[in-house]
Amino acid sequence: MIRALGWVLRRDLLLAFRRRGDVVNALVFFVIVVSLFPLGVGPEASQLRNMAPGVLWVAALLACMLSLARLFAPDHQDGTLEQMLLAGEPLVVLVMGKVLSHWLMSGLPLVLIAPLLGLQFDLPADALVVLCVSLLIGTPVLSLIGAVGAALTLGVRGSGVLVALLVLPLFVPVLIFGAGSVGATAAGTGAEAHLLLLGGFLALALVLAPWASAAALRIAME
């Protein structure tokens, strides 16, 4: 089982490496969206500091959602997804592998670049650290929940908009506590509770989301 997970991971990372452009594009999208906000609301530092957690997190949500189109759809089109269902390995494990690689290619880059963008918004150092930690815990939840949405909308017409409709409301708790943790640090009230709850969401999503995605994939194959 671990072996199968390793192979899926290896395969998806190799594919992502051969199509580096897609990964870079999602990252550039994130940077552009975040950079647009100061242009929209003005350069006043205190206002930007207040907005920063929300803006960064919403942009992360959108970037993650955009990259969901690459999670299952290409495999569905060329028939490799079918073969995965027939691999004789538990589908949940294979889904885990795909979600993990999706996170490594879409979530992790955001975590790494977020501090730079935080500096643009004049966030203090401790808030930057919490921002990174919250993204590190929160973005895997986004990938896990997003996988369910991507699997449900597989091969459905207008799936791009539909996946946003299905997945974004489910992202709300992550957004609240992710952005909340950064805001709480900036306000000096401490972010431990927020981060713990985010960790709780991650645990819950890890347990439930792969099953739901696997079920949705089987349904999509019918």
Binding site: S159, L166, L168, L170, P173, G180, F201, L204, A215, I219
Partner: protein, 250 residues
């Protein structure tokens, strides 16, 4: 009803036998809904006294709160039937889930609308990011997502199952969303008057809300039964009994 005279749940789990049953029950639920809503309206306008703090504007609560209850309750019911449909593979339960969604979305809309109208005189603004209103807004998105997903999938069986998975994911998420939003709104102290604490819960008020909620509940059952009957006819059109049923109508 069955020819053998044997009553069983399995008998009614087939669309063919449920269709006439739904037709027979529907008027009764509709009548109950009308009576209960009339009683609820009477209490809310003629029995309940004026609130000392908010004046007459609090009478909106008699529909706002029951509608909010119903909207959440109907999503849970939808999730339940979805789960039954997914596990037992019974077509009828999926049809019921599909039929519940529009009515649930409607009550969500009513809760939002009345919330806004209550908010204007109370808070001085049409929209406040209060915990209940925000949760209702997200719930509306969940309902819309469910209906949009089902509408986008052509294959009926797949639409049923995909909708069921989504509804179940939503059911797990609703408490989490509700709790998160609650936490968030207390943190930001947006509204000083919360809807729950606003008027003291007088007994007559609670009674009015309960009766109204019961009325809405009966209405939801009646509307859902009517919609299930349409769905059954549409989906079972290749069967002989629907052909006979339509033939009998003409």
């Amino acid at each position: 009803m069955s020819k053998s005279g044997k009553f069983s749940l399995y008998y009614f789990s087939s669309p063919q036998s449920f269709y006439p049953l739904a037709g027979a029950l529907q008027p009764w639920f509709a009548a109950l809904a009308a009576v209960l809503c009339a009683a609820g309206l009477y209490i809310s306008f003629f029995v309940a006294p004026t609130d000392a703090q908010q004046g007459e504007s609090y009478r909106i609560i008699f529909i706002h709160v029951p509608a909010a209850w119903m909207s959440m309750f109907l999503y849970l019911v939808m999730g339940f039937w979805s789960g039954v449909g997914l596990v037992l593979n019974t077509r009828l339960s999926s049809m019921v889930a599909t039929a519940l969604a529009p009515t649930g979305a409607l009550f969500t809309f009513i809760a939002l609308w009345t919330g806004a109208l209550w908010g204007k005189p109370t808070w001085g603004t049409w929209w406040v990011w209060d915990a209940r209103l925000t949760s209702e807004l997200i719930l509306l998105f969940l309902y819309i997502g469910f209906m949009a997903l089902q509408a986008a999938i052509d294959d009926q069986r797949r639409a049923d199952k995909a909708g069921a998975v989504l509804a179940l994911v939503g059911v797990i998420n609703i408490p989490i969303i509700y709790f998160s939003v609650q936490w968030w709104s207390t943190l930001h102290q947006g509204a000083s008057v919360s809807m729950k604490s606003a008027p003291t819960m007088a007994a007559t008020m609670l009674l009015g809300m309960l009766i109204m909620a019961l009325g809405f509940w009966m209405y939801s059952i009646a509307a859902t039964l009517a919609r299930v009957r349409c769905v059954i006819l549409e989906r079972e059109r290749h069967t002989d009994w629907v052909a006979a049923e339509i033939g009998g109508q003409k």
